[in-house]
Symmetry: C2
Subunit: 420 residues, 2 copies
């Protein structure tokens, strides 16, 4: 029976041209984050199904690729629910595995611990252009640093990396869960409805302030609440320092350190940054994951029209594994989007080795072949890329192909020495 | 409910010390193979279950992590067999996915195509020390090269890589499927029993020639057959050139080009090699996978006591996907074993960036913090690794910890300037 040549639905083969860019970007990321003291770690792609289904992952938990139990543990005939037949699944993000990793290994890790993870994650989303069911994530996280030095270093490391990859004119948008909550409390929304309010607020950039108003009213909130809430956003539109402005109005609804903390992050990043981007306070930034407890941030790239990464503080997640909370803050860059943007703009990997092709006529003696190979080895030791290949009958076509692959120099070897 | 801190059974978390070595080795592999013209590609970790169950994978097919169907396609209540509830699985090697990849993308690939793959594979083996259910494989393969230039380049690239990683005194053992078959035919074994004979032969290094004799007799083969067969191996023990010796005895049982082909590989590798290893003909080398059609080879490392990689020619596998055979030859290095050996011998990654730690007292002003961060950014741009971290109360302990992590220089920043 003929086998299936296609990748599984929604996943893709990566060809050499894209891989060259991916490998280069991975190198820049590892190198740049490394300079900030982030160390690479890795966790298995497979996690216990209980950890993946613990409500840390929001909607992603509906998209898990689940793995069948094996051997005697699988009792298929008796099984009626998925839970009975699976014991593990492919991770849908790197955060849940990282927190498990930290909980498991904290005794052998530095404190604070600065982790870099690059790895694939899987989500069984409806297949659509440019989105795949297997994709690479790239996360940096800091555990054990309660101060805003965590946020500052995460943002500086990420923006430095983006700068090295040639990205300019992007924006880091930053907000605070506690500001979101204080604004909702000040407006008089009931606490159990905050999440619903934030889901609507999150649509501000798509439906505008009138759309948000209509949806909140439609959801049955009082005109007074909604009015007070939107007044805050209208005021923000004209305020010079949004954090200062809100802190003044919110008064006791907002812990004073939140303001100082956030202002220091913005000021530090703004003064220190080496590449062309800006950091701005954005009170409409929500970010979906319910595990965030403090600052939240996102990279906005006009060229892409959407978020190219984001993160925030999640101080209560380690506690889910160990019973003891540990300060934690992370930043994830949208690796696949970055690769897509680079490919779209025809990015060329800099400083690639010079490429030479040796064309060897079929039937050369073993002695000649040995000479050819020794020459190639010497050139490779000197840093050049050398392809040793048989000469085709249609040599001209072969060379054209090789030129297309980036080979610049050609050396030809014949059975009999050519006449001078 | 508290979550599970441990990785899933048989898989492991990789900590920073090991990751540093892994990243370094990956870099050396990509760089060295790149110089030989191998280009990186990647396939999804998940493959259609039909491709994974096509008997190309031998016993590994019993060890597949199978993935449950999703949504309406999963009819659990009616299901009686695994086949009904799964549609895909985690790959158990990189060869089956590579051949699928080549079949799917050949039109967009160079010819010959030299591929480098580094990626995880999964096998649900019984957990045991040093063997994990998720592990990295590292394969190079050449498609479309019928001549022994494929074998020679694969062996030179792999041995050059091992040399760069500091490995010496290893041995490449090489054999030919067609020699294995010719020896069996010459001895009078029935063709349908060859595989059984080779399974016994494969144990030669463990049970010796007497053990092989006993097992073959026990399996019911005639004393004459077994005697003729073992006589060949006894003769090889004293022969100067094993290939020459066997070719002379086997006569018409062996195609003449097999001898010339194999001798040229051995001679070329021996003359060209740049590091301290040897390549030897080994008529007892079998290698398990049934898809091999020609040369087979293996890396023997005395320090490990076993094989550290291997490969061979499999000219008939692309045909399983496309109906048209394409010459193919590959070499897989035992990445995890190499990492284990390096870690055991206390390998240090060369040329790591110098590491400086800035200790910042809690409560410094935003201005001071900005100065500190700007200094750090400048040092990082100059290639140093700089950790900016809060100063702990027990500064001496903190420094000891950081020295343990490889930090050499310390700069301290205080709320108030220290007295001179």
């Amino acid at each position: 029976m003929a086998l299936n040549k296609k990748p599984v639905t929604g996943m893709k083969d990566i060809l050499p041209d894209e891989m060259r860019i991916r490998d280069y970007v991975i190198g820049v990321i590892k190198d740049t984050y490394g300079k900030f003291g982030f160390t690479s770690i890795e966790t298995p792609c497979v996690e216990n199904i209980a950890n993946l289904s613990s409500r840390q992952g929001g909607d992603n938990e509906k998209l898990i690729f689940k793995i069948l139990k094996r051997g005697e543990k699988l009792k298929l005939a008796e099984a009626e629910t998925e839970e009975e037949v699976v014991d593990s699944g492919l991770r849908y993000d790197l955060t849940v595995p990282l927190v498990r990793f930290y909980s498991n290994n904290a005794a052998n890790l530095p404190n604070p611990f600065k982790a870099l993870q690059m790895g694939n994650v899987w989500r069984a989303e409806r297949p659509q252009r440019g989105r795949y069911r297997q994709f690479m994530q790239c996360d940096i996280d800091i555990f054990g640093e309660p101060s805003n030095l965590a946020e500052i270093e995460l943002i500086l490391a990420t923006t430095t990396t983006l700068g090295k990859l040639g990205f300019k004119n992007f924006e880091i948008r930053i907000n605070e869960r506690r500001i979101l909550k204080a604004m909702a409390a000040y407006s008089g929304f009931p606490e159990e409805e905050y999440d619903s309010v934030f889901i609507t607020l999150d649509k501000m950039d798509k439906i505008g302030i009138d759309g948000v108003e209509a949806e909140l009213m439609g959801n049955g909130f009082s005109a007074e609440c909604v009015g007070r809430y939107l007044e805050l956003f209208r005021g923000l539109g004209t305020a010079e320092d949004g954090v200062e402005y809100l802190a003044a109005i919110l008064g006791d609804y907002l812990e004073p350190e939140v303001k100082q903390n956030l202002q220091e992050i913005i000021a530090s990043v703004r003064t220190t940054k080496s590449s062309a981007f800006d950091i701005v306070f954005d009170a409409t930034l929500v970010r979906g994951m319910s595990y965030y407890t403090g600052t939240i941030f996102e990279i906005a790239m006009p060229e892409y029209g959407g978020s190219c990464g984001g993160g925030g503080r999640y101080d209560a997640m380690v506690g889910r594994f160990t019973g003891n909370d540990v300060p934690a803050c992370g930043f994830s860059i949208g690796f696949e989007r970055i690769i897509m943007l680079l490919m779209e703009r025809g990015f060329k990997v800099p400083n690639e080795a010079k490429k030479t092709a040796y064309l060897v006529e079929r039937g050369v003696s073993t002695d000649t072949l040995c000479d050819v190979l020794a020459m190639a080895q010497a050139e490779r030791s000197a840093g050049r890329q050398v392809l040793v290949t048989r000469m085709n009958k249609n040599k001209r076509f072969q060379k054209e192909q090789l030129i297309g692959e980036g080979y610049e120099d050609f050396v030809e070897f014949y059975k009999k020495p050519m006449k001078q």
